[in-house]
């Protein structure tokens, strides 16, 4: 069973990114569990795979409008598909870095993979429930999805 502390590490990694890189804190919405079926996948998704003490995936998924505003807040003028992929990859990278720091060698964490516009490629393992944590920033909402056994 995933612990509250483990979940908080992933959430903290995500909110820290907004506060530091986009210069504006995000708020965390009410988490919910997806027991059957597939959790939300938006247009751009950064995915990390986890093995070892826990097995599964963690991903951050966001819309183009949200990423556009984030890039602008970061001073970026090239609002391209490549840069939006980069951005979700960097958020996932930060989540991954936090997890490595907090969990140590118990968790083997992959390099982030970015999926753009192909939600079927984001595949949580079968028969596992997913925790979905809404990440609200300005008028936008992204999701952090934690699917670990």
């Amino acid at each position: 069973m995933m612990t509250k502390v483990e979940l908080e590490t992933f959430v903290e990694g995500t909110t820290h990114y907004f506060e530091t890189a986009a210069n504006q804190p995000a708020s965390v919405g009410s988490p919910y569990i997806v027991q059957d079926g597939k959790p939300t996948v938006q247009e751009f998704t950064g995915v990390i795979s986890i093995a070892g003490k826990r097995r599964g995936i963690v991903y951050f998924t966001a819309s183009r409008p949200m990423l556009t505003v984030m890039l602008m807040r970061m001073g970026e003028t090239e609002l391209t598909q490549e840069n939006m992929c980069d951005l979700v990859g960097e958020v996932a990278n930060t989540i991954s870095g936090n997890a490595r720091r907090d969990f140590g060698k118990d968790f083997m964490i992959s390099v982030p993979q970015v999926v753009a516009g192909e939600p079927e490629k984001v595949a949580p393992p079968d028969n596992m429930r997913s925790f979905v944590i809404p990440i609200n920033w300005r008028s936008h909402s992204a999701q952090l999805v934690v699917c670990l056994e």
Partner: protein, 137 residues
């Protein structure tokens, strides 16, 4: 996509030459924007360690910002190669790998400082200023 740029800048007398190595385009561009200060001139950018070594061989930099997790050649291996080419190069690791063992490993291989991602503009300029102060003392 892997990329590297290098331009000869023979007119840069007195300025320190900066190379930026990170597989993220937005991070390379952010660092470039923030570090366009009087004492630094960006001479090259690279999206992985292998391309960084190639660019460095063509024109060695005085200061390097270096990511760790990159395709083809990671930042730790790249640091070792750059230091072998130019022992007095100043290298600031900029990485999301915030665990102590990664920082220690990078410093052992020859890096001079460590900045965790994500970072604010101020944290970046302060980390570079500290790197340069350390070189002077």
């Amino acid at each position: 996509m892997a990329s590297a740029t290098a331009q000869a800048q023979p007119h840069l007398a007195g300025k320190l030459k900066l190379m930026i190595c990170d597989d993220s385009n937005i991070i390379r561009r952010k660092i470039e924007r923030e570090l366009k200060i009087d004492r630094l001139q960006v001479i090259s950018t690279a999206s992985n360690g292998r391309l960084a070594v190639e660019a460095f061989k063509k024109e060695p930099a005085d200061v390097v910002t270096m990511d760790i997790t990159m395709p083809e050649m990671d930042g730790i291996e790249c640091v070792e190669k750059l230091v072998a080419l130019k022992p007095d190069v100043l290298i600031l690791i900029i990485s999301a790998l915030s665990d102590k063992s990664t920082a220690i490993e990078a410093l052992k291989r020859g890096a001079n400082g460590f900045l965790c991602k994500p970072f604010t503009d101020r944290q970046l300029t302060e980390a570079i200023a500290e790197l340069l102060r350390g070189a002077q003392s």
